[in-house]
Subunit: 450 residues, 2 copies
């Protein structure tokens, strides 16, 4: 059912372009949805993409434009005059149009807007591009259906009929007072069963949930998920209805947040993807590598202070990687659970103390299992002093890592730093250093003791 | 705007319950949405929650039930007779009702269904609970608006009016042929502007996207996101329309998939959250800890073979953690980029070879930066042989880790194993072992050379 793009398909397509076989190209595109066409265009060179785009009909072209990768869209629009760009965005939804316009250089933005035929659309877009990225204002669209509370049911149905021409799916009818303030919602069912001369104010539902234009995208996403909303009206500072956000726009916010979390956890500091340029990928990764390296240097200094011990007991060095790895693994496990709990707001009733205790409990169980296993192994293979050292150190390290893995993200969250940063290289590096310190300290104590 | 639950609020609430101050409880609940009430109930004991639930009105109670944590809902329903459960689910949407029912023990399920007043709803639910979890069938709801192609516009509007009584938001009107087969969609606009005696078959749009009941949830999520769909019809083996999936149900699928990825990356094998029981948390984490420990033991055997060298040059041991950590970090960075690209299907045109080359390029740049830095440091602090060893080993390890971080998830994906597993402890452990081998090998060569 779903279109699947293969390298063979793309190569065939490129051949058709080279041969300027327009009818073959059109035939192929005709069967596809805009998202599929965009997928093909993303795989073509800028020149090839522009060639194919010219062949698209007026209805499909803007939809394909929207679905393109940002870089590809930029390349494509660079070939167009401001007049042509204006034509492309004239029929888009206002939020999509605003997204496209805001990617253009600023001097071009005004020119494009002034060339648009639909003046209302142009002023909607001009309003939308002014909202800061990552706010409800930047997510919302202007297309919505609203009625005044003083209207009659008959006038209202006429008005709705007129307004729905601009709206694809009708999610809700919003009710405004004389000052354009949002005061409630109206269900279609209510409208149909009510007396034609009844006024909206007698039949509307005053219980309406909304956000402000300045609310952050993350809050909007949380809000809509929590209350299972399909659409959410947006009001300005004065409570006037200015737009609406639909759940499909929020899906992108949710996906981006999840991807960002995973990248922070993996020690990647910018938002990159696998198609980015080499130097951009490098730059996004190097900071955490250097942090890790500094951690390694600190570790080397610590081990350095035990030089004499290593000379006599070189076997102490054998288990350095094991201790480091276990500290890192346990730390990552604990912190990822905490980071997710923070993201889901499910930590409400648990004080930090309670959470720490629980993670320490899990750490104790798993630490005991691991240290008993390693005790048995090391006792059989190495000598009993080393076995005791590794085992005691491992238990201590696991407990420590559980503590830090819980404490660090909770603390970062309190100071408004993204706790996902804590789940990655930071906690790993910290636990590496602490693990080695504990290991050699325990070693010195036990070897000295016996 | 959003209700915020605090420990103080919960404690106050518990006091009201203890004093059986029903009017105070009702007053407080009256101001809240079902999702907020569920949030409070989640923080109460089973007994307290049951007490509060009894005070809810008939309309709110089922909605609160739906929003509860699974454990809490189970506790609560255990107090109810099958008749009472049947009453609760009589007014739910069919997909929600099916979710609740399928959590009940099997012998109770049939009894509840047989006690339901709404026979149609009961048979819808009975149908839905039979679909395998993780398929389109288990995600879909039965509430939808459909018309036959042979109907006239007038009959159609009447039919839609009748059907919308069961539907909250009207997303789409589906068009069926005589055999209940889905053949297209009808826009409301078209319906309004068409002649009353026109037939549906003359005005409907045959271009409709759909999935089968057996399509996996992940595919449904991908499909709806790619084509920007708000609602997606589901058909059976014979192409008959049996339900529809809305984008808000898919939001949960997307969130769960992202959370699962993060847990697999962190070395947590089951789906757990921070409120789970101690032993369940332990059990989910121990497998990867044991894998990590085995890796550590292999590492100890490798270092063991260099015992003589460590005795003479104990400084070799200093940089074991640095080499291990850097291999791990680079491996995680590479694999997380690949795993995300796989999840987003954005690897289409890049052959594995191309991807490997690019990751090796990034590895080369970052490896060179890091190894030059460490060369300078080690040369100043330690002797030049150690400096050369660490630097050469580090570059090799970074390149190796880039290779493995790319190659392992791509290979796992080819063999249909969740590649997110590769981003976590697996790649880290592998790189630890390889890193140490390289380090000591380089050390032996360089120390022997000079």
């Amino acid at each position: 059912m779903q279109f699947e793009l293969t390298t063979i398909y793309v190569n065939k397509f490129k051949d058709s372009i080279e041969q300027k076989n327009n009818s073959a190209i059109k035939d192929q595109l005709h069967e596809l949805y805009p998202a599929d066409i965009a997928e093909i265009l993303n795989q073509l060179s800028a020149k090839e993409a522009a060639y194919v785009y010219e062949l698209l009909d007026d209805e499909t072209a803007p939809e394909v434009l929207l679905e393109l990768d940002e870089d590809k869209r930029e390349d494509l629009l660079a070939n167009f005059s401001t007049k042509e760009i204006a034509e492309q965005i004239d029929n888009m939804d206002s939020d999509d149009a605003a997204d496209v316009i805001s990617e253009l250089p600023e001097e071009i933005q005004d020119e494009v807007l002034s060339q648009m035929e639909d003046i209302e659309q142009a002023s909607d877009i001009a309003e939308l591009i002014n909202f800061e990225e990552g706010t409800a204002g930047s997510l919302m669209a202007k297309e919505l259906v609203s009625v005044y509370s003083f209207e009659t049911v008959t006038a209202c149905i006429e008005e709705i009929r007129r307004q729905t021409e601009n709206v694809d799916v009708m999610y809700a009818v919003y009710v405004l007072d004389n000052n354009e303030k949002l005061i409630g919602m109206l269900s279609l069912k209510k409208l149909i069963i009510s007396h034609p001369l009844a006024r909206v104010e007698e039949i509307y539902d005053a219980d309406v949930q909304f956000v402000k234009t300045s609310t952050s995208s993350e809050e909007v996403a949380e809000f809509m998920q929590k209350y299972d909303l399909v659409v959410l009206p947006v009001v300005d500072q004065l409570g006037r209805l200015v737009g609406r956000i639909t759940i499909d726009d929020v899906v992108d916010v949710i996906k981006e947040a999840a991807e960002e979390s995973i990248q922070r956890m993996s020690g990647i500091s910018d938002d990159v993807d696998s198609n980015d340029k080499l130097w951009r990928s490098s730059r996004a990764r190097i900071p955490w590598l250097i942090v890790g390296m500094c951690g390694g240097i600190v570790g080397s200094r610590i081990i350095g202070t035990y030089e004499d011990q290593i000379k006599i007991h070189p076997e102490m060095a054998y288990f350095i990687p094991l201790i480091g790895a276990m500290g890192g693994n346990v730390g990552v496990q604990s912190s990822s659970i905490i980071v997710q709990a923070l993201a889901n707001n499910s930590l409400i009733n648990d004080s930090i103390g309670h959470k720490l205790l629980k993670e320490l409990g899990v750490g104790l169980i798993n630490g005991l299992i691991c240290s008993i296993l390693i005790l048995g192994y090391a006792f059989l293979i190495e000598d009993w002093r080393l076995a005791a050292t590794v085992s005691v150190a491992l238990l201590t390290v696991v407990l420590c890592a559980s503590f830090l893995g819980t404490f660090v993200p909770l603390t970062m969250n309190r100071f408004k730093i993204n706790p996902a940063l804590a789940t990655g290289p930071f906690v790993t590096t910290l636990n590496d250093i602490i693990g080695i310190s504990i290991y050699f300290l325990v070693g010195r104590l036990l070897y000295g003791l016996f």
